[in-house]
Symmetry: D2
Subunit: 247 residues, 4 copies
């Protein structure tokens, strides 16, 4: 069983009626809805306005894969919490960063770069699958269209992805590395660009398939173990050498 927590800032849905109409249960609610039917997933949601931003220790410590949607309130997430989550990712918890989460403190801390990009509202996007055999691309067509999506364009200031799974094409003339994988410490990280709050992107069947796949891919292969310091084995080289020779 993979314990999934869908974290959402959850502000646009309340402050902007148009967004509320697209996601009446919040973006987190929509994502929970399509993840939950997977028999091997146990799905919770958490939002910024909850106590401890919805991520008290007992939630965080029992999360295998965390999804993160944020935008207008990145700076409202306390540094201490960000660091706690980062440590857990380094210890093996999977992390899926969604759309404007590219500028979250958490993603920037794990990447080490600015994660800047260029953007423009209300374009058309076509998503291309570059690595069709990657677990995250299973069941996803060679390309699919999102009639309305925010343009995110290169240069995206990220460390070169360890796996580049999807590329985004925008009618206005831009391209974007739309689906990228990294490992940091013992944790796996997937960034996926489509998902602007005012577009019905998370209702798209291919986007849903991608996120379901991503949860399974990002799930830890070992029990999550917070990083410790640097061990100093007390054995001389000669002992080590003799030890090896004796076998």
């Amino acid at each position: 069983m993979i314990n999934v927590t869908v974290w959402n800032e959850g502000l646009h849905e309340k402050s902007d009626p148009a967004v509320g109409r697209v996601y009446p249960d919040g973006i987190h609610g929509c994502i929970k809805q399509f993840l939950s039917p997977q028999a091997d997933f146990s799905v919770r949601t958490a939002t910024l306005s909850q106590r401890s931003c919805g991520l008290p220790d007992k939630v965080l410590d029992s999360t295998d894969v965390l999804l993160w949607w944020g935008h207008m309130a990145h700076d409202k997430v306390p540094d201490k919490l960000v660091e706690k989550i980062r440590q857990r990712v380094l210890g093996g918890m999977g992390l899926i960063v969604l759309h404007s989460g590219h500028h979250s403190k958490l993603f920037k801390a794990l990447m080490g770069t600015t994660c800047n990009l260029q953007w423009r509202d209300a374009d058309r996007e076509r998503v291309w699958t570059v690595e069709p055999t990657h677990p995250i691309a299973q069941g996803v067509p060679q390309s699919f269209d999102l009639p309305q999506e925010e343009m995110y364009g290169e240069r995206f200031d990220i460390p070169a992805p360890e796996k580049l799974i999807f590329l985004g094409w925008f009618a206005g003339g831009e391209v974007f590395r739309a689906g990228c994988c990294w490992q940091r410490g013992l944790g796996r990280i997937f960034y996926f660009q489509p998902g602007h709050e005012s577009n019905p992107t998370y209702h798209n069947e291919h986007v849903q398939r991608i996120l379901i796949n991503a949860v399974r891919w990002a799930a830890p292969t070992l029990p999550v173990q917070l990083p410790e310091g640097c061990p100093n084995p007390q054995v001389t080289p000669e002992e080590r050498y003799r030890e090896a020779s004796a076998q």
Copy 2:
């Protein structure tokens, strides 16, 4: 002309007479000495005990490549300075992190991981060149020995290097990714493991060759430009499309 600043914590040399004998002018002094004869290098040093940790704006802003040696006083470098340096690396300044600098705030902030490793004093190391055609490996033999060096062993908790140039073999039975390259933002980063304060590693001709090469490799190809935010081009997709069609 490449403006090089060699930063050193500079404490072991003063507090430990044995270290002082190996590096009477400090590790920074030794490195400056072998870098300076390069006609295209202009070399300065900076240390923790100087005003602004030796890196006031006017020094930092005129540095093309920064070398960083630190160990016992990582936490004495102010967070604000670390962030300023990190921004400059993202803007294109080259960074060469030496030995125990693996645990500096700066390196960890750029990598996003713990940079933990295992270690043991006083082993013997053989350094192997894995990528002989990389600019940093020019003039470096297939392998060379360091009769006395601190063992740093795997697992080294770093993002997978974009280029793995050197591997370290230790007589006591460990291996290490001893020379690694990454790009972060517009800046190039090289980590090099040999260089314990009580060993004459920086007097070794091959180590000197590697660091000379690394400075040239890490030097910015464009003027350093601090990162700005995310541009939002004010053009509709249709305008962009027509613009492209009209050419």
Copy 3:
């Protein structure tokens, strides 16, 4: 069910009694024996001396993952068969290349390089796990010793591995990228260095765990589909553009 075919040249075992004593059923027999108990594996063997080198179309076409051990008779494998296997790897069949298989026509054709290395008989090896969370490393300790193994040393002339899972340390002073992953076309490839014919390496529990894991990792995620040519979609850019706009 993963259909596994263990291919072995199978000559050393017959011509050298010492090897025959280590592997009375052949290296392929030994590997089959420890793979077979896995409930999701269906395991066959194939050897050079069989009709069609043991790989007639009906065997090859029903193989999901192929393991390959060869050494003294690389040139006895017909070019046509090599090309047929290569096409199947590009179409999604997993490939695990063992030890001296580094110089097989098949591996060299897929890598594009010489796959040269340096070597010496009868050393001691310690294998280090560099990526502990990779599926191939599950259940494998941080390091384990092989008291007798052939030394394979750097530089190993391969394309930089997409994932470097294991590093080998040799008592004689060498290091080696001992476990490496690549993707070629739709197929996954794993190279694993330990496995000299006169050493009981394939009787080692950790080596067995690694190969069991590797079979599962290399198994195709989609039905294997031989590569075809370059499609030429008959649609004008304008039609494509209107198509996208209309949605």
Copy 4:
């Protein structure tokens, strides 16, 4: 001085008057013309119809960087010559593969994959710079347009590029990894997609800048040395170990 040889099949220019009008001196002639003014380049051309396909040993053996344009006559280049060139690339010669050269025997042999892609004539392309600090991108704008270029679209069946420098956007809705770097053996390889024979692509100033940069990047850092076999150092592990200890 970098010895550059521009190889071109040279058939379209003769058989198709429209192509002849775009490149009256052949594609090779055009490329030679814009490379030659570089003071550190010595540029020759070679074509398929010449003796030894224009690449007799004395030409090949004195070439530091080879550019390769081919399309309709890939199969006219003898296997033996292809293998000779491949060996020289593995020994350090730089290789720049242009446009339809993606399907040349040489490129496919070095990549190990089919190098298939999808294509369509007469689209509009916008080239985006993803790695602005890479030597090949120096002086190249963030994006530039090619009003008429053949569409090459994903999935491009190549090994994941070690550096992805340029992405192509096509008005008809496709994207492409348009500028990619790999190292094979000691040689550097750059593939660049724009350059269809009936379009004036090689007259474009940015394309010219890219190819000038690529020649300098691909030039060998060491004298080219053809690969030899696998050395077998005759030293026992104990001797090696004592040797290291004695220093």
